[in-house]
Amino acid sequence: MKRWILAAVAVMASHAALAESSSDAIAQYRAMLADGNPAELWEAKGQALWKEPRGPRHASLERCDLGQGPGVVKGAFVRLPRWFDDTRRVQDLESRLLTCMQDLQGFDAAAIAKTPFGKGEQSTIENLVAWVASESQGMAFDLPQSHAAEKKMYEVGRDAFFFRAGPYDFACASCHGQEGKRIRLQDLPDLTTRKGAGDAFGAWPAYRVSSGQLWSMQRRLNDCYRQQRFPYPGYVSDVTIALGVYLGVNARGVDSVAPGLKR
């Protein structure tokens, strides 16, 4: 009996060692990629697109208010999603960019929201989010929670985070509610903690080496729901914004590294 237990402990220890060495190797791999994140290519385009007169009104986005006043980009990313008086909504970065593209440039926001990721004006948004995020790199997340609607969205986001449904019974929390776990070799941040939420929320938008694409936070959440076997979350729908508030508020005080580099 005792020998059996010892053997079992030995087996468990070797599993742990293997898991650790694989994780170390992945960390080494990521470190080798850390310099020269192709997201920079999106940032450069985003910066140019911000200033370029575009759309039916042939206007730039330079008067766009991302929450810090018209045209202020620095620091905007780490304070979103937040409440906006003009739209009377809590909006995340992408939702707010849509508002600006509609109000300033004359684009049809609903049509852009329906456009598949990576196509048409959606690719414009990918460039813009890369640039806007890069302008807050190294700044700590500091989402406002003073407006009642912001508080409510946090609660809704938490509810959505734990909401289990679908044929696999998955919630966000199924994979992101414990510390130190992995899917395959990918570490799963515990999004209920400050560090975990910071690591995750603070790394998107990110360049994905597997697809060679830049994924926005909306696209990240969309693919989470796909893998949760849920139906399709609408682009900038309230559930995605509520989750953004939940993650962003949980990540308070953590420095943003976005745009990140992901598998």
Binding site: D35, G36, P38, V209, G212
Partner: protein, 103 residues
């Protein structure tokens, strides 16, 4: 034509460290699209770097270089303010040249 490259060139102790990101699909020709049709190869074949009119690196690539290629190299003989120029040519004959001042 393609999108602009990102070139960072930094000089220290007489050596210039150059890091380049190029926007290119680097399509292998082995992949299929969603309708099952093979996507034709489309990749950068030749890269040339010059500084002060002198070639400092040439490269020949296959489709095995990753999408949105990254390249780093180091050379001597340039000083801050000098320009580094990078040109790529792909298998379809498209080309792009960008330059950056050495920091």
């Amino acid at each position: 034509m393609g999108d602009p490259m990102r070139i960072r060139a930094k000089s220290s102790d007489g050596t210039t460290d150059v890091r380049v990101l190029m926007a290119h699909p680097m399509e292998t020709g082995f992949r299929k699209d969603s309708s099952g049709k093979t996507i034709p190869p489309h990749f950068i074949k030749d890269v040339k770097a010059t500084a002060n009119g002198k070639t400092v690196l040439t490269a020949r690539w296959s489709q095995a270089i990753s999408q949105n290629p990254y390249l780093q190299f180091k050379f001597k003989g340039a000083k801050p303010g000098d320009k580094v120029s990078i040109t790529w040519v792909d298998n379809k004959g498209d080309t792009r040249t960008d330059e950056a001042a050495i920091a």
